[in-house]
Symmetry: D2
Subunit: 135 residues, 4 copies
């Protein structure tokens, strides 16, 4: 079971574009990060607080499907949702569409380990399991 | 059947790092691009020539598994290989390791469509099929 | 004479940070671009319309003074203003502060040529001179 | 008095380009960092050793003049030199040209403070003053 998704909008910057006239592929992963940040904030658990509590959430695996172009200044809508992946990892699903018309831009997911500041996997605290399970 | 892989080395820049003290996840996709560029050059078919001939190779799908840290100035070894994906796409496999010690940093793949400059999928020319088939 | 400045806010992403725990220096120039985009939109002349009309505004010179740190998720306020630089160039002044407390993060400027799509300098149209002169 | 400059070459990546078909302006600062890293290594004082000794070299001010285009895969030559700026700062001068033909791409400089890990300015050690003075 996953949470109601978080939705944010942003515009493509010149910095995001490449010579092909669309967004450069690696920028999708930066956008996914933006969506995760804002989802966790919307859920009342901004990630910076996790770090202050000694939790880290390094990316373990990432996947992107590139579905359509996005040009400079296009307004895009990014939808992010959170779920659990197995017993000790988190999974964020991301989807980006053109705000005007809804054409797909890209979608994908990232799976994150839950670790201490030294990078050792730890058992997620109860509030985090509840968060991921939508509790 | 895939080609003998291309191998390049590079060092992690401060620009690649993040607050966690390792490389930021999206940088892996920039590194994979570097490996593709140099593999195609080593095979005698630099990608810029493809563009001059009216071919484009947009990324269709990308996958990254993050396997270990890489700090500022670490010397990394990037191995890239090329294969065909179905009848009309290309697949590059990428793996990055610490040059000193060989610890895994990340690995993954990108699948690319073959299109004309307008973005329409086209039948790959014979030389490209040969290249991907290792011919 | 310059325009009333445009003001936007944004948060520092993990992608913006580096191993030193603050924002990586080159990101300041990406942020300045964001400010220019939003200032021109606020003035009723979004830059994408300029491009559609055959105008380009390549950066000619850039300057940044780094004044203080900004950590992941810090909320920053970016103030941008526009003026003319000589007869044929534009100058944007940028300043970034912590939204909470107002401590300076960085400031600087970019000077832009006005060119045709082929990169040749052209005489700025009257509406652009008016815009830069605050008319 | 400054050192004999360090020279490195690199190719423009797709990641560096933008919709205008040349390199995105902020990338110049990433390239300048690459030049600084390799100059200090060539001088026998790689920056990572400075950090291990408790020195930091944050960018204090940066300046770039954009002089000409650079397209995907262009081979560029980056020349970097080091000098002292006042009593307690360092200044790196950077210049990037097309390797083939020598046309100017961009040039600029960065001025760096010398600090401890907490960001407090410190008196540069003698070896660092010698390094900057070419001794």
């Amino acid at each position: 079971m996953s949470h109601a998704p978080g939705i944010v909008s942003f515009r493509v910057r010149y910095a995001d574009t490449d010579q092909m006239g669309t967004y450069y592929n690696a920028r999708a992963l930066e956008w996914f990060e933006f969506g995760r940040n804002e989802l966790l904030r919307a859920l009342g658990r901004p990630y910076r607080q996790w770090e202050a509590q000694g939790l880290r959430l390094p990316v373990f695996e990432a996947h992107v499907r590139f579905l359509g172009p996005a040009a400079y200044d296009d307004l895009l809508t990014l939808t992010t949702s959170l779920a659990r992946e197995g017993r000790a990892k988190l999974r964020f699903e991301s989807r980006i569409e053109q705000a005007d018309g809804g054409e797909a831009v890209c979608e994908g997911w990232t799976v994150h380990a839950v670790t201490d500041p030294g990078g050792r996997a730890i058992r997620p605290p109860a509030w985090l399991i509840d968060l991921a399970d939508g509790g």
